[in-house]
Amino acid sequence: MNWTDWITFLQWFFLLYFIGVNSGYILLNLLSLRALRTYMEARSLDDMPAYSGYEPPVSIIIPAYNEEATIVATVRTLLDLDYPEFEVVVVNDGSQDNTFAILQREFSLVFFPEAYWQRIKGKGVRAIYRSATSPNLRVIEKENGGKADALNAGINASRYPLFCAVDADSILQRDGLRRAVQPFLENPITVASGGAVRIANDCGLKDGFITSIALPKSWLALMQIVESQRTFLFGAMGWSALNAVLIVSGAFGLFRKETVIEAGGYLTGTSGEDMELILRLHYMLRVKGRPYHITFVPDPIFWSMAPETSRALKAKRLGWQRRLAESLSLNMPLLFNRKGATVSWLAFPFVTIFEWLGPMFEVMGYIFMISGFALGLISWQVFAVFLLVAIGFGMLLSGIALLLEELSFHIYHKPTQLVKLLIAVLLENFGYRQRVSLWRFIGLMRWLFNRTHEPKETVEIPAVEA
């Protein structure tokens, strides 16, 4: 092949790649449309009293490291959740600030001689405290070992069959836990459930709960709503229909405790412990041939503040790409595993090609097309078609996600909010999407060439049976 053949090959490769990635997401959204229909039918009976009750008790675990600014508000909010029976276990992971002192003062913590059962090995637990004012609150004081280690300590200390891992800065919906528990009630083989983060910027907040839903004034945060609907929310719903959810957010995830302990708990030394655990659960349960389900709940369950500056967003996306790369690379035996079904043959390859390596192809595609056009190597016709397809598909995908939101939860009630979202769907593809791809590409390169967060310890993964 001479160089003109190479250029022709590459221009078609990138064009077809953009069609492939967007078609994949569109298919996922169509799958989620079907799943959403069933889900919303079930939800239509939810507000009737006879269709609720008998929820199992849940242990809510909050790993806290230097969280003196937010921890009290978070704990107060959690203690006020609309759920029949639960306990809150705060794990103070050797904080350097006054996290523990503030907790002790605000919740009247007293030392409690608990027979700590270390089912998952980890850093030493120094002491366990109980609140004299809130009987369902306990605080574990331990040596610093990272978020995964703190979560493992929380699991060890938890009392109930389900545990919910929550970030110290998450804003939970008052009925969020009730919603997340539903899959466990409706399908006894459920081992985990999670939801997508909703963006809380400029929403009304009272006593730690969202009281009024608004769109962010910042366009950068607004773009993240569109992005989140497109990729995390309805994409995940599609994977859930195939029992191939690979990501349950670390900010809120509900798990069957015994299954997580059987898998060895959270993997310490990695920054993507949330996704890594899900992949390992899939692997363990598929290899053992045990029926199970990991479910995505599309309801608004928890909220978080989205970055409003490019710098903060860049840091978030760099981190996200690193976590993804770490989790996938640690669980490569799951890829094309003959027992892995949809997870191994569909979701894992999809995420590998379009999420893990995708930013590389996207950035290279744009660079190749723009530079090729500027240097006269690529005709304006090819360049125009590339832009039309890349941007047009992006808009279609975001448009479908917005339509799905409108068909289901339509959480943004005001007509002006809908108009703003419609504009964002169109504008998101002019600059924002490309910029995020670039940051994720940088994250991928940094992970590849500068692995500063190599896992220090590993959890034994069960061997594949012959």
């Binding site: 239509s44 009293p49 001689p113 608990e114 009630l185 397809v389 339509l403």
Partner: protein, 351 residues
């Protein structure tokens, strides 16, 4: 020369493909706006109906109004939803009074009409309304729907049958309760609870006695949901001959009578830890001071839960004081047993 003439055939195809994508996107956005307008209209209609009917619902608690507004065809779905919601929030006699209003305004006809639709939400609402109305004429239809593969619809039909005639319904539904694992147990338990112990205890007890080991725990939990202790003789009989761990465990959970304490003691050294936990729990519930010594051995069990429940049972035995528990802690040498007793003593003090 046209714009498209600048493109070779394959590229031309891609151009039209791209333009089609943009066109579809714009249509989708228009559809989104139309959906929003539809939603606004639907919400307004529902508000109007609530405003019109809520005073009539309130009035029907004393006497059904003589003149009732006609329900427009377009309002049927919204109306049945509002009525169902009102019904679900009521208890006892008030439910019957609202039913009288339902019959007076032809709710049964509305429900039968909606049941014919393909719209799943409309069918769910119709089935729920027929149950509240205790519409006997819908029995055959509802019975058919209990076999529908859609779990929510079939479950709603099962509940409706239970509301119409719980005893009669149970003869049809008991096999489904054990067979249909897509029916969440908590939802079945809710409807059993709703029907009350008088209606469900007999058929459920009979079913428990005849149940296969894999069906037994599910049925026993339903019996517990009905707050019935009439199953105890059956539970005792089954426990004496049971060999399946699940059955033994479920039976031990159901023991409530101090006369059964000997039966519970038999399982204190069972090889399965979850049977041992239930045996210890049972002793805690129905045991006496005489069981004090029997509960000391499990304080050193290899499983944390058995130790914990044994310590709780010990500290909760009648006439066993905290001081006595402290003495027991001082007298034993096993560190695990000491630790778990320390924890339970602290819990008791904090309570």
């Amino acid at each position: 020369m046209s714009f498209a003439a600048y493109f070779d055939p394959l590229l031309k195809f891609m151009l039209w493909f791209g333009l089609a994508i943009v066109g579809i996107t714009l249509l989708l956005l228009v559809q989104t706006v139309l959906l929003r307008m539809q939603l606004i209209l639907r919400q307004r209609r529902e508000q109007r109906l609530i405003k019109q009917w809520q005073p009539l619902f309130d009035q029907s608690m004393t006497a059904v109004p003589q003149i009732l507004p006609r329900i427009a065809k377009s309002d049927r779905h919204a109306f049945i939803r509002i009525w169902n919601h009102a019904q679900e929030s009521l208890r006892g006699e008030s439910k019957h009074k609202l039913n009288q209003l339902g019959w007076a305004c032809g709710m049964n006809h509305v429900a039968h009409q909606l049941l014919k639709q393909n719209n799943m939400r409309a069918r769910l609402m119709a089935v729920t309304a027929l149950g509240h109305l205790q519409e006997k004429n819908a029995w055959a239809k509802l019975e058919r729907i209990t076999n529908d593969p859609h779990p929510l619809l079939s479950l709603a039909a099962a509940r409706a049958l239970m509301q119409i005639d719980a005893r009669e319904a149970l003869t049809e539904l008991l096999p489904l309760f054990t067979r249909r694992h897509d029916w969440p147990l908590n939802k079945i338990a809710n409807m059993v609870n709703e029907a009350g112990p008088d209606a469900v205890t007999g058929p459920l007890t009979q079913a428990v006695e005849l149940a296969a080991p894999e069906e037994f725990p599910r049925l026993l939990r339903l019996l517990e949901a009905a707050h019935s202790d009439q199953a105890l003789p059956a539970v005792r009989r089954i426990l004496q001959s049971a060999s399946d761990d699940r059955v033994i465990s479920a039976c031990l959970q159901a023991l409530r009578d101090p006369d059964d304490v000997e039966l519970a003691r038999t399982y204190m050294r069972h090889p399965s830890w979850f049977v041992r936990v239930q045996a210890v729990n049972a002793l805690g519930r129905i045991g006496s001071k005489d069981d004090r010594d029997a509960l000391i051995a499990p304080l050193s069990d290899s499983v944390w839960w058995v130790r914990y429940r044994a310590a709780q049972a010990l500290a909760g035995l009648p006439q066993v004081t905290l001081d006595e528990v402290r003495q027991i802690r001082a007298s034993i040498t096993d560190r695990f047993a000491q630790d778990i007793l320390t924890q339970v003593i602290a819990e008791k003090q904090a309570a």
